[in-house]
């Protein structure tokens, strides 16, 4: 049995001003003991999906086939869910009590988790006196107190500097391998999604692409051509050239991306002012192709 098994989930929000808006449309998801990244632009339905898994939103239709017990589920939100006036230790005591753990159990878990996350010396500091990175680690400690089998992360490194981000991922990787957790992370940052075993790209509440980061990159071939235009008026000329070269491509403002590009292609570009890069595709390229906002214009062939 999977830790998470959602089938044909539909969530519709209704507002007086804007009427109905479909946040998730016929969305299915299975996950078990893996690190899954939900990658999509703002408003694509990522947070709604996490809310359905956390059972804070009841879907309008579809079925949550294996509802995760809340006792074995924890969430790390975009901003730390910690009381600023309380110390790390006091916050962790509250987190344990919310999961019905005894004081002795909580204290023993605090000792081991604080040691693992390098928080032992800071347990008696109030959250308001911590740096952003340290508060993030304290928040991760809060989420780990119940020893969850499913951990939901909602854009967990937003606002962190490079060092704090690296420490966060190292800590999470260590903890995940020790606890055998299913980790589901919503993000719009492709660098974050690179850490995942499997990436689900979503747009407008629908799954548009799925696979490991390597599999997803492979869908764009060995090489991708990135063309940065000085003027948007050159778009049509470039598109025609790429069509003649049989390269599927998309246009996103001043950027044109073509996949399965031949290395010799750069030499025949008709626009001299264009800046051209031919390189192996990154996850960001895949994201731009499949999950970017609807303003992206697909100009050649069917990508899906």
């Amino acid at each position: 049995m999977n830790a998470i098994d959602l089938a044909n989930i539909k969530v519709v929000y209704h507002t007086r001003k804007n009427g109905d808006r479909v946040a998730l449309d016929n969305f299915s998801l299975c996950a078990d003991n893996e690190f899954l990244a939900i990658l999509g632009p703002n408003g694509s339905g990522k947070s709604t999906l996490l809310n359905v898994i956390a059972q804070t939103i009841t879907p309008g239709s579809g079925s949550v086939l294996a509802p995760t017990s809340r006792k074995s589920l924890s969430v790390v939100f975009q901003t730390p869910a910690l009381d600023q006036l309380l110390t790390i230790h006091e916050n962790l005591m509250v987190a344990g009590a919310l999961h019905d753990l005894s004081k002795a159990q909580i204290k023993s878990r605090i000792a081991s988790i604080a040691s693992e996350l390098g928080l032992t010396d800071r347990l008696n500091d109030q959250i308001r006196h911590l740096s952003g990175g340290l508060a993030r680690r304290a928040d991760l400690a809060r989420a780990l107190i119940p020893h969850p089998t499913v951990l939901l992360l909602d854009e967990p490194t937003t606002g962190l500097d490079i060092d704090a981000r690296r420490i966060f991922w190292e800590t999470l990787d260590r903890t995940r391998s020790r606890l055998n957790m299913t980790v589901i992370m919503a993000t719009h940052i492709t660098d974050e999604a690179e850490h995942a075993d499997r990436v689900l790209m979503i747009r407008d509440g629908q799954l548009v692409r799925e696979g490991s980061p390597l599999q997803l990159k492979a869908t764009l071939g060995d090489r991708i051509i990135r063309i940065l235009l000085e003027s948007k008026s050159d778009t049509n000329e470039i598109a025609e050239w790429l069509n003649q070269s049989a390269v599927d491509h998309i246009s996103c403002n001043h950027l044109i991306l073509g996949h399965h590009a031949d290395a010799s292609l750069a030499t025949t570009c008709p626009v001299e002012s264009a800046s051209i890069t031919i390189a192996p595709p990154t996850l960001e390229d895949v994201y731009t192709f499949y999950a970017q906002s609807p303003s992206v214009e697909h100009m050649g062939g069917e990508l899906l």
Binding site: V12, N51, T56, K71, D83, E90, V94, A97, H99
Partner: protein, 255 residues
């Protein structure tokens, strides 16, 4: 999971928060104290002796001032739900297995303890105003104040659950509670009021909690203490049920 541990831990958290922001306690006591000084110092001669009461105006208004203290403390307690939502603490509680009622009861429990602590300070001025208070009398007054705080925190939590801005919450609560307090006989005897005001006062539950408190403190109110206590207890239960119901509601998608 019975939720008791969660309720106690969340309530304890509220109390710790208070010790780290004493300005809130000072604000809750200072405002009623200033209002009381104005009323007693400025209006006592013009109002004259207080009919239906053995106490002078200063003593007569003390239960009303204690309830005003409780009212301000209750607003602070309920508004902390909005603060928790903005800080993310509420989200962590909502996705935990703790039952929703434990969130409501922690706010009501801790908020009431703090409100009563502040209101007792006000009640302790009675001996200095010539009113003899007995242990039973003071316990009765505290019970009446507890009914007010439970009811008002419950009402506030239900409102805070649907209102997202603390400014909006303050506006609605003040618009609702200040008239409720002013028409409850907090600073005047209901018996002597104009008939329209008396009619409003009699359907105002706060009037009856004030009556219950004054009866306990040996002040003659002209109304049945038994009825006053029944209404006060029902008022408190209403607050608990309202808050628990509101907080148990979750978002549902349209099908």
């Amino acid at each position: 999971m019975n939720g008791t541990r969660a309720a106690i831990a969340l309530g304890n958290r509220e109390l710790i928060r208070q010790t780290r922001q004493p300005s809130r306690i000072i604000a809750s006591i200072a405002t009623p104290l200033l209002i009381w000084l104005f009323i007693v110092g400025g209006f006592s001669r013009s109002i004259g002796s207080v009919a239906q009461s053995d106490a002078n105006l200063a003593a007569y208004t003390i239960p009303g001032m204690a309830s005003l203290t409780v009212m301000f403390a209750s607003i602070f307690a309920a508004i902390s739900l909005i603060q928790d939502r903005h800080d993310g603490v509420l989200r962590a509680a909502l996705v935990s297995p703790a039952p929703r009622w434990s969130i409501a009861m922690s706010k009501i429990g801790a908020g009431s303890i703090l409100a009563l602590f502040q209101a007792i300070m006000v009640l302790l001025t009675l001996p200095f105003l010539g009113v003899t208070i007995t242990p039973i009398g003071i316990l009765g007054a505290i019970a009446g104040l507890a009914c007010i705080s439970i009811a008002l925190i419950g009402l506030g939590l239900a409102l805070a659950w649907i209102v997202d801005s603390s400014q909006g919450f303050h506006g609605i609560m003040n618009a609702l509670l200040m008239p409720m307090w002013l028409t409850s006989g907090a600073v005047f005897p209901v018996e002597n009021a104009a008939s329209w005001l008396k009619a409003i006062a009699l359907v105002n539950p706060l009037t009856w909690t004030h009556t219950a408190m004054r009866s306990s403190l040996g002040m003659d109110t002209g109304y049945s203490p038994t009825i006053a206590w029944i209404i006060s207890i029902v008022f408190a239960l209403f607050g608990i049920i309202l808050a628990t119901y509101a907080i148990s509601q979750s978002k549902k998608s349209k099908s």
